[in-house]
């Protein structure tokens, strides 16, 4: 990893929420007394992110990923632990820190609803004190890359969701931030817009090398953008590593799919492939699936080729989404 830009150690955060039972009587009761529950949103989280890294933050709803982003961007204060982002303590909210980060929220517009994007950008130019020549150059580049040059003078509220999201991206990147937080950047967008935004983010990373943290429920976002993922479950990190290794690290098996010629319907597959080499999973007409231990995949394939009239054979990894889903659900 390159020099760390974000370092987090033993970070914890809990929230107190009020509980109210459903119904009229409970509503009246709640005027006088409300039950409080403490929710542990983050527990002893530690991580480090380097320059130019794009890290996917994955977890179920309520797992704690947005809380982590909020703390890293200085929106909320943690209960304990230490955080350094670009050498700053985020919740001190120094201008030198805030001038160097940005947060893009797919579900919440940050630009001024009643103004054209061009006016919003002019205000941001002054907020971030961007020199005029640099501003003109960056805006032209970003607008052209995202293909929204013609929409710059349209009121934000009159833009389509995709166009608005692109404007949010421009707004977030005009000041060349060193750290970018993207919260569901493609939510609600059509496939073309999603692809355009993903491609833009990758190009931007290659050119400017900011550290980027992406939270998304779209696996396609994660697969396309992130080399590294962090899976959060119940406030703790259960996986922090390479996306490409997650399958091999977390699943002991591979999948062998074969298409066979004429074979009896009641063929005993345990005779073909002994239990120590895996097992029969499913058969649909001539297509048969076997789950085999990762290390024994080659041997199992050889046995199948010898024992059955194979027309086609593929060895594959389990679907990455399924693996991640399993880690999110079960923590392993």
């Amino acid at each position: 990893m390159t020099e760390p830009i974000i370092t987090v150690a033993d970070l914890s955060k809990s929230f107190t929420v009020h509980r109210k039972e459903a119904g009229f009587i409970s509503s009246v009761k709640s005027l006088f007394y409300r039950k409080k529950t403490v929710i542990q949103a983050l527990a002893d989280v530690s991580l480090s992110i380097g320059k130019g890294e794009i890290v996917g933050l994955i977890g179920a709803n309520g797992a704690g990923k947005t809380t982590l982003v909020k703390i890293l961007s200085g929106i909320i204060h943690p209960d304990s632990g230490s955080v350094k982002v670009l050498g700053h303590n985020p919740w001190h909210r120094r201008n030198s820190f805030r001038s160097n980060i940005s947060l893009i929220m797919g579900q919440k517009a940050q630009l001024w609803w009643d103004l054209p994007a061009a006016d919003c950008f002019l205000l941001l130019r002054e907020i971030y004190r961007i020199p005029h020549y640099a501003y003109a150059e960056r805006l032209a580049f970003l607008a052209e890359t995202l293909d929204v040059g013609k929409q710059l003078n349209v009121q934000i509220r009159r833009l389509s969701l995709g166009e608005r999201m692109k404007m949010e991206l421009i707004a977030a990147l005009l000041h060349n931030p060193g750290v970018v937080f993207l919260d569901e950047p493609t939510i609600g967008l059509d496939l073309t817009a999603q692809k355009a935004i993903r491609s833009f983010i990758l190009n931007y990373r290659d050119q400017h090398k900011p550290a980027m943290i992406i939270t998304s429920h779209y696996m396609e976002d994660i697969k396309s953008l992130c080399e590294r993922i962090i899976i959060i479950r119940k406030g703790g990190i259960v996986y922090d590593g390479s996306l490409s290794h997650i399958v091999s690290d977390h699943t002991p098996n591979k999948l062998i799919k074969v298409r066979v010629g004429d074979t009896p319907d009641d063929l005993d597959f345990s005779a073909v492939l002994p239990p120590e080499l895996g097992g029969f999973t499913d058969r649909e007409d001539k297509n048969i699936e076997f789950t085999v231990p990762r290390d024994a995949a080659a041997e199992a394939a050889t046995r199948l080729l010898c024992a059955l009239p194979i027309e086609d054979l593929t060895i594959s990894e389990p679907d990455i989404s399924t693996v991640i889903e399993s880690i999110i659900k079960e923590g392993r």
Binding site: T66, K70, H77, Q110, W112, L115, L123
Partner: protein, 270 residues
């Protein structure tokens, strides 16, 4: 906040107001006329019923001029700020200002003042029209270019004072989420004790000295009296000192609550 940002933000807010021209004219012409008509018919009935020429020190035309200006002045001071800060906290939009390298307080103050400026121009237009076209209304007041200048300066100061007063109360939303009722109560109290609903000279004489030390009378009553030529320079200096004192007190309260409240903020909505 640097000068260029101040100017950009200021003009942006004015552009936002001008973006909705129907609302702009409705809020100016219709609201002014409607509020004036209510006061006209109400006080006409009172004067007729009591069969008097003056109430307090007001003749009917003088009272009408008061009621022509008071609502517009009130709107200027309040600047359409009906709990905006509380709403930003409640809806989580405060996040935007936490992320941007800009002071939330100064940003919102500037937005408030920009809106007030548009309304102040409306107020000056109303005064000009009244003085030129309806001299009978302004006859008992000494409205001169100097009093208008004094009133304008005082209105801007009152706008700032009201913003700081309103801002710290709205920060209670960090704990209470919804403070609409509290805002409505405060709004009523400021309208009543500030001179929007009723000239303060019609209040019992025993409480009038007290009112001069409270902040409320400096929201509408004091700037209005400046416009009407009823404030002597020494009274003006004293009034401005009281306003400055309250502004300092409210700013300190704001800073304390903001500091505590920030620990409560959860950034809902993302």
């Amino acid at each position: 906040m640097n000068l260029r940002l101040t100017l950009q933000l200021f003009t942006m807010e004015i552009r936002k107001v001008f973006a909705y021209r129907v609302d702009f004219w409705l809020s100016f012409v219709v609201a002014t006329l409607a509020q004036f008509c209510v006061a006209f018919f109400l006080w006409k009935s009172i004067f007729t019923y009591k069969a008097v020429d003056t109430i307090g020190n007001f003749t009917f035309p003088a009272l009408m001029f008061y009621y022509l200006l008071a609502p517009v002045l009130g709107r200027t001071i309040y600047s359409g700020n009906h709990g905006d800060i509380a709403m930003e906290i409640y809806q989580g939009s405060l996040t935007r200002y936490i992320i941007y390298p800009v002071s939330f307080f100064r940003y919102k103050l500037l937005v408030h003042c920009a809106n007030a400026t548009v309304l102040l121009v409306q107020l000056l237009a109303v005064i000009t029209v009244a003085v030129v076209l309806f001299p009978s209304l302004t006859g008992s007041y000494a409205v001169t270019p100097f009093t208008i200048l004094l009133g304008t300066v005082t209105t801007l100061a009152a706008t700032v004072l009201y913003f700081i007063f309103s801002a710290w109360i709205q920060l209670i939303a960090f704990w209470a989420d919804q403070i609409w009722s509290l805002s409505a109560i405060i709004r009523f109290i400021t309208s009543l004790l500030g001179g929007s609903l009723l000239p303060l000279s019609l209040f019992p004489e025993s409480i009038q000295p007290l009112l001069t030390w409270l902040p409320f009378s400096y929201f509408v009553h004091f700037p209005l009296q400046c416009f009407l030529g009823n404030i002597h320079p020494d009274m003006w200096y004293k009034g401005m000192c009281v306003m400055a004192g309250w502004a300092a007190v409210f700013t300190i309260i704001y800073a304390c609550i903001w500091h505590k409240g920030n620990h409560q903020y959860t950034g809902v909505g993302i």
